[in-house]
């Protein structure tokens, strides 16, 4: 059952990657990348247990932290970008 779960995670990673490359907006791309990152954490945890890697859980923990910080940082960067453009150029806002 562990192998089946790993295959399911890999399929989901592929789907998230397709959304990341297709995504019409930057938010879609970031959503796909965040989903991919979470699935990577799960993949490392499960595959490390099956294949008996050394200290794989530390890597998974670190990757979870990095994924969260990266998502929040990119979203802070994108959040008020359009509002600033409208303020600088009031003609295009209407």
């Amino acid at each position: 059952m562990l192998t089946a779960a790993i295959v399911a995670i890999l399929v989901t990673m592929l789907l998230a990657l397709i959304r990341t490359f297709l995504g019409p907006t930057e938010y879609d791309r970031m959503l796909g990348a965040n989903s991919f990152g979470t699935k990577t954490v799960l993949f490392i945890a499960l595959a490390g247990h099956v294949l008996q890697w050394n200290s794989y859980l530390d890597v998974a923990l670190l990757y979870a932290l990095l994924n969260f910080v990266g998502t929040i940082a990119v979203m802070r960067f994108f959040e008020y970008r359009n509002a600033l453009e409208e303020r600088d150029d009031p003609e295009s806002a209407a």
């Binding site: 562990l2 779960a5 399929v11 907006t25 979470t38 954490v41 998974a60 994924n67």
Partner: protein, 114 residues
């Protein structure tokens, strides 16, 4: 006792895998950004704990079990936060949810102006 734990672990892993793929398909097939957030974010928040609990049930008592619990708590805390931040950033960035009015898809005005 071992058989019960095996069955429980298999059930958790199976449900987690199914939810995982469901979230992935929803992420690919849903029509607009906010429904994609819903599809992937909501299922992900349940799929990750199920998979990690299924993994933890198969491990023996050691420090690794504590690390799995730490990953579990971290994912449970950060995943909804990241999803919420993304939806809020998209709403502030000018994205509007797709609203069906008389079976005709239109861009809604959004619940509140940012």
């Amino acid at each position: 006792m071992t058989a019960i734990i095996e069955i429980l672990s298999g059930l958790c892993l199976f449900l987690g895998g199914v939810l995982c793929v469901t979230g992935g398909v929803g992420l690919l097939r849903m029509p607009d950004f906010f429904s994609r957030v819903h599809a992937s974010g909501v299922t992900e928040t349940l799929a990750a704990p199920l998979l990690l609990i299924g993994l933890a049930l198969q491990m023996e008592w050691s420090l690794d079990l504590v690390k799995v619990a730490m990953i579990l708590i971290l994912v449970l805390a950060t995943n909804p936060t990241a999803t919420h931040a993304m939806a809020k950033a998209a709403l502030h960035g000018g994205q509007r949810p797709l609203v069906f009015d008389n079976d005709k898809p239109t861009r809604g005005e959004g619940a509140s102006k940012p």
